[in-house]
């Protein structure tokens, strides 16, 4: 395996780890599937669609998100937003993320 192949593989693993945090954070505001993908893309986080949409459904099943079908621009869309449990879980995850980031930065600086 070349260095580039190693990098691509590890990059995917790294992103997979932070994917849920990114999705939960973005869904502090209401989004439908496609708009969520676009907002993440605008922030520089490209997520495979085949991964993102099923993930949102799973998070909703787990009770971290709530959803409702609404009509917008003449078409029905499913809008997602963080539930109460989702908000508190996200806050805990953000704290963990900050700690990990801090520790990692120190390790990387060494």
């Amino acid at each position: 395996m070349t260095a580039s192949e190693h990098y691509q593989k590890l990059k995917l693993e790294l992103r997979r780890g932070v994917l849920i945090l990114a999705v939960l954070s973005a869904l502090q505001k209401e989004h439908y599937g496609y708009s969520l993908r676009k907002i993440l893309l605008e922030q520089g986080l490209e997520i495979d669609e085949g991964t993102l949409y099923p993930l949102i459904r799973r998070l909703e099943k787990q009770g971290l998100l709530t959803s409702e079908w609404r009509e917008e621009s003449g078409r029905k869309k499913r809008f997602y937003i963080l539930s109460k449990i989702g908000v508190s879980t996200l806050n805990q995850l953000i704290q963990d993320w900050n700690q990990v980031q801090q520790s990692l930065n120190q390790i990387i600086k060494q």
Binding site: Y32, G33, P54, R58, R78
Partner: protein, 316 residues
């Protein structure tokens, strides 16, 4: 559009009943969002190729449908390490049981090679059933949401030493297994042994003495026990205290049997025609010498193996 309808029908085909409608509705909505976005950008309707590209970007219907399903794995990563180990033991035990059950018929069939090939297919057959049974058992544990913790409970005090020096090469063990099985077949065939030799221009017959009959059963028991130990070692891939002790006992028993054979009055019996020949003494000396050398070598090999086992035991 027919392409989108076909794609959605393919996706929902792989989903559970309760997921079909909601996933189909949501994917259709996402596809339409993407189309709308594209058409706004290019200010014209999307062509067939662009619709196809959108569907390709979502992924193969099986792949996206499986991402919506909870059962992503036949055996989850949590269960896999213990499943793999259970499979090794189950397949090994299956092979032992099938081989042991087939051994008497192989040895008595008179067609050892043909029977051995049949045995290989019987083992493969039984192994497939065993593989399926273990897989289904672990799959059900996951389906019933049973915790895997039970499998991973351990007491550090009772852990075995996995010293790399105690590892056994499976190739060597496999070779040992085949050697013992062939020897067992040869040994049971040997009892009916009757050898024709060309002696001074005549074809004469040499038979084994009756003394060999007395050790037939003990030798068969030692060999069968050795086969079981060898297969067990093949499964484990390493020496254990128990198998080392058992193997040493079998080696000591083998030495005793070799010594008993050495003490036979006669190893072979000759017919009168040879005994009356003037060169008979030379033939007898040559046969006795070859038997003695072979038996001494055999005894030394078993002793060396026993000493090796004792040294290994000290490492455990």
């Amino acid at each position: 559009m027919r392409m989108i309808a076909n794609y959605l029908s393919q996706v929902i085909h792989y989903l559970t009943e309760e997921q079909k409608q909601e996933v189909s509705d949501e994917l259709e909505s996402i596809i339409n969002d993407k189309l709308e976005d594209l058409e706004q950008q290019q200010s014209k309707p999307a062509d067939e190729q662009q619709v196809s590209d959108i569907l390709i970007s979502l992924g193969h219907p099986i792949k996206i449908a499986s991402a919506y399903r909870n059962d992503q794995y036949l055996i989850s990563p949590e269960f896999f390490p213990i499943y793999r180990q259970a499979l090794i033991y189950a397949l090994g035990l299956t092979a032992i049981v099938v081989a042991l059950l087939a051994l008497p018929s192989i040895l008595s069939s008179g067609h050892i090679i043909r029977s051995s090939i049949q045995l290989v297919f019987s083992v493969i057959d039984a192994a497939l059933v065993s593989f399926a049974a273990v897989t289904v058992a672990f799959y059900l544990q996951q389906k019933l949401n049973l915790s895997s913790e039970f499998w991973y409970k351990f007491d550090p005090k009772s852990l075995n030493n996995l010293n790399p020096k105690l590892k056994i090469s499976r190739l060597e063990t496999g070779f040992e297994f085949i050697t013992i099985v062939l020897f067992l077949a040869w040994w049971n065939d040997l009892l009916q042994w009757s050898n024709e030799i060309n002696f001074a221009g005549k074809t004469l017959i040499i038979n084994l003495s009756d003394a060999w009959q007395a050790i037939t059963i003990p030798v068969n028991i030692v060999l069968t026990a050795s086969i079981i130990v060898t297969v067990w070692q093949f499964i484990l891939g390493r020496w254990q205290k128990f198998t080392l002790i058992l193997d040493s006992i079998l080696n000591v028993l083998s030495v005793i049997l070799v010594v008993l054979i050495m003490r036979f009055d006669h190893w072979v019996v000759f017919n009168e025609a040879i005994m009356q020949h003037p060169k008979f003494d030379k033939v007898l000396t040559a046969i006795n010498l070859s038997f003695s050398i072979s038996l001494v070598i055999l005894a030394m090999v078993f002793l060396a193996l026993t000493i090796g086992n004792i040294l290994k035991l000290r490492k455990i």
